[in-house]
Symmetry: none
DNA sequence: AGGCCTTGTCCCATGTTTGTAAAAGGTCTA
DNA sequence: TAGACCTTTTACAAACATGGGACAAGGCCT
């Protein structure tokens, strides 16, 4: 049993919308405590997650709710694959608050104040959906952090502490997006020698939020391991992150090896330096939201 | 049998809250002396510890109490704490359930099944308090994972995916332990070149749960950065993790440098290969629970 | 274009939950 | 007998929830 706040955290739907959806469409009817507080059970959470996914894909909330309450779409299954997919024009305007939050984060990193970092991160992710927050706030902030490190404003210690704080929050989002899918895997990771993994983790999370069976294998994975992995298990897509110029050579080598190791596998690459990695490699867009959408299309 | 003060010390719940929990939720009904003093038995302590654990994890007190009194959630038994102690001696899981969970985890890692890993991890941490779960289940499981990797049962990909899954869960616990203290900092990290950070993160979390202002700086931090960090900010304790033999030289070098860089700083070291790092370095016990307790003493 | 509907989000006054503290007094031990 | 420890009752602030109206943005129909 979950309170409305916990239900919101678990489904990714804002608290206000949970109440609106209930009032307007009656998708769920959570039990109430004596004092009138909503208490959501597992079923309600599943229904709300299903509705959120449909809405994310372009269904209108009204039709999504109707489909779910009528049983046409079962919560927790992949019948959404038959769903009509409307083009979603991304590119929300950068929130005016995103910039000040980025500054506050750099300050916290410079002072090595973990509690302050965590507070800023929380506010950053509260700006919008996970995807928009990553695109409009997190990625710019990471760039600012890199600059601050380069010019000495932030020490390595502050930079490490800040990276780990962000990683913890991303990990939490990844876990919260737990998909019940057990289809072909999507491998997301960095080539041997690469360590800037925050972008890759953010992308992996966005992909998982779309229902893909993501396996996040993280930093510094040798070519040979990539190859063995896609041979040993049903892997449909391998995604390489190429965050820095130094990562290019190994990334290209890994991509080549993968393309020739398994027939039918899709190799994709994302990150600042992922252009023209090798012929046949899909170049993912910079926007996490768009990249996740492309992934979903590739999966079919 | 314990007085309310002892019960508070044992469970980490403030005295006033113990009385409030009893009055509001009836989660325990301690026996009374003739004069009306509360006397808590082992069962009551277990129930209160379980409740604290749930509340720490984000449950509302009301639902946590309901789950415990209804038997939905079993209070962690004392046998797990004994198992935790034994695990230190035998270097392996000794609690029957911990053992079967360790096996299940290796299986999930071998199959690179992320959802299964997450499920097993969740059950592992449900065995008891964070500290006992780490000592009796997580650390033995990590050793088993290392063995499985060494003998080829688990591929590098499975090992990476498993490590990240555990890291996500540890990060969540670290975030949940958010301390409001802003006293002198405790730096926890690994020396330059070291990357096996799960033990260090588990320890950092345990220390934070004790109220210390922990800054987790993670893997691969150069000597010079350690030095600048403790000089620039009020840092009372620096903790170096030394998980493998290969990490010893850099760890020793870092420890030496720190001891001579700031007067009054305490340098501590933990991990399998942290013995006799340098004169003046505090060697932390293998048990996470004990190590965190030692830290709390060092802080004063 | 204009008007209308849908939808997410915000506001606001009000109510609940929960940790913690204070007051006033009883019990135990050195 | 002092001081540490305990008792109950009462109180209070912060965090969280409630409903329902309001509003802006955007899609759709005329």
């Amino acid at each position: 049993m979950f309170t409305i706040k916990q239900a919101s955290a678990r489904t990714g739907v804002p608290v206000a919308s949970l109440r609106a959806w209930e009032r307007r469409y009656g998708v769920v009817a959570p039990r109430r405590t004596e004092s009138g507080y909503r208490m959501y059970d597992e079923q309600a959470i599943a229904a709300l997650s299903a509705m959120r996914r449909l809405v994310d894909e372009g269904w209108t909330p009204a039709t999504a709710a109707a489909a779910i309450t009528s049983g046409e779409v079962e919560p927790g299954t992949e019948s959404l694959q038959q769903a009509a997919r409307l083009a979603q024009a991304f590119q929300g305007p950068v929130h005016p608050e995103a910039e000040s939050l980025a500054e506050a984060f750099i300050e916290a990193a410079a002072a090595v104040d973990v509690a302050a970092m965590e507070s800023v991160i929380e506010r950053g992710f509260a700006l919008g959906t996970f995807e928009t927050a990553v695109d409009a706030w997190l990625m710019p902030t990471l760039r600012a952090l890199g600059d601050a490190w380069a010019d000495g404003t932030v020490d390595v210690v502050g930079e490490h502490a800040a990276s780990y704080a962000i990683m913890r929050r991303l990990g939490q989002a990844f876990a919260a997006a737990s998909s019940l899918t057990s289809g072909p895997r999507v491998l997301v990771g960095l080539p041997s020698g690469s360590h800037h993994e925050l972008g890759a983790l953010a992308f992996a999370t966005a992909a998982r939020r779309r229902g893909l069976a993501v396996v996040y294998v993280g930093a510094d994975l040798p070519v040979e391991s990539w190859r063995r992995a896609i041979r040993a298990f049903p892997t449909k897509i391998a995604v390489l992150a190429v965050p820095t110029a130094a990562d290019r050579p190994k990334a290209a080598e890994t991509a080549e090896a993968l393309l020739h190791s398994a027939p039918g596998i899709v190799v994709a690459a994302g990150g600042s330096h992922a252009d023209d990695l090798a012929p046949g490699v899909v170049r993912l867009p910079h926007s996490i939201a768009e990249a996740a959408r492309v992934m979903e299309e590739l999966e079919r």
